[in-house]
Symmetry: C2
Subunit: 323 residues, 2 copies
Amino acid sequence: MVEHGGTSTVAPEGGIGQAARRPPLRTMLADAHSGMLLFGITPPRQSASAEQVREIAAVTVARLAPLNLDGLVLYDIDDESDRNPVRRPFPYLPCVDPAVFHAEHLERWDRPVIIYRCVGKYPEPELRDWLRSADPDQILSVFVGASSRHKTVHTPLSRAQELRREVRPDLLLGAVTITERRDEHLRMVAKQAQGCGYFVSQVTYNVDATKSVLSDYFYTCRDQGIPVRPVLFTLSVCGSVKTLAFLQWLGVDVPRWLENALRNAADPLAESYDQCLANARELIAFCRRLGMPFGFSVESVSIRKVEIEASVALAGELRALLS
Amino acid sequence: MVEHGGTSTVAPEGGIGQAARRPPLRTMLADAHSGMLLFGITPPRQSASAEQVREIAAVTVARLAPLNLDGLVLYDIDDESDRNPVRRPFPYLPCVDPAVFHAEHLERWDRPVIIYRCVGKYPEPELRDWLRSADPDQILSVFVGASSRHKTVHTPLSRAQELRREVRPDLLLGAVTITERRDEHLRMVAKQAQGCGYFVSQVTYNVDATKSVLSDYFYTCRDQGIPVRPVLFTLSVCGSVKTLAFLQWLGVDVPRWLENALRNAADPLAESYDQCLANARELIAFCRRLGMPFGFSVESVSIRKVEIEASVALAGELRALLS
């Protein structure tokens, strides 16, 4: 879903912050805590040299260290051009496998990671081997199904979910939630029945729609007598009209008033930053009032340095808001 | 659009508050000020005795006096059952003509009124006479067209607008705006071209949709080089599932999360009151940031005493917010 997120050249110093250490991500999600904060990145492009990949990993870890994150989200990028006939505003470029990137390059990242798996890309034996090897204290996963019905897949989503239950039931599995969809709460309940223990939203800019899905999900769980699982809201700043177009291409519903504001803003990055923060405040207040477990993940869908830096700053402010 | 709003029996003492007197409503709207606060009421039912009508007027004026309002909105109720095939949750009962109610019973109300006119109800000579007699310093109007295409009308909206331009161009005319509609900003611009100098929204609970219409309207005015006219947002508390059903029957889009909250709340009136206040804060911040002139009108769509009292309390809090 995102372009890769590590391009700048100077790595600030500093280890991973030790202040206010919370329980491990797995515990917080399994026990339906609130206040988790993650950061989402996309592994480097496959075309990058080994040296470049190493540098990107180092820069990324250094940049995120001061944030006291509960974990990292590693996206698995698939060519989703079959999903949307409109031309992709940023070109699709194959990226390093997120599991490989984690295993081989993120040795300095000592906190948990949520590794996305576009399961259709992987033959079943490969997926099984990975599940067997994954340390459930450090690795969580989100399985993503095919982007359209017409796509040829190696392993369908339902089979991948089965496989996890067979091979590695203690690996905490999550699912994507797309809060723009009217009946999304029913899909969430169905995914939960397949073993998903938490949800990660697509980038959300329409807080009203997000609140409606959360509310429908919350009351459906209550009515069905099933536990409410945590939702991690994904926020992403939007620094230009091109980034806006990419968000919309991805299916993100940007309210018209916000689209107008971004198009007319002298500084769209500052405008979107303020809006992300306002949205976070609104979602925090809403979830606390409802009694809904929640957290956030911040990502930059663009590789522009100013947008990445604004994302890191946003995560910093969220950490303070959540404390 | 509303049931009548004055039923309780004990009238608190007190004249119209003199504190912080602002320019007259006409000036504030004509000069595109912000911060106007009005209260909307529906005249008593036609079946009420002369004595009851007098009492309702006295109670209403006494109740609203402490609010330091900029004016009163007097609704003109029409049978809109042709507009919606679903059964009306509250029965339609003909009400006293708002112009008659104002002329004959509101002598103790010394501030301006916005008199709604469902123009299709009135033959042209009657409308002309009323326009001739209206004092433009005290009376403003909102013309409302037929509720459906199939309704037989005495005077079409376009003819009523023409009549005002011919007979009483100095009577400040407004129009209803329904912010649930996608292309509403284009309708607003068209109404403005017909002489409308301000807008009054339908009861608004979907702030996101309202912000989108405002934003589209604001930027369309800017692009066309025409002045931006003020919008008065109508807020109404909702104290019961029956009131909620009535709001929805009227076409008010209540976001799903809010509908869920109201249905599940121990005290839906308190829940809706808090939400109205939150919505007001959000609209104030949004309009100030955009540079959009705005004000509020509060009404109670229900005749229950607790809902009327909550509406008065809401107007009181809005007065403080707007100061």
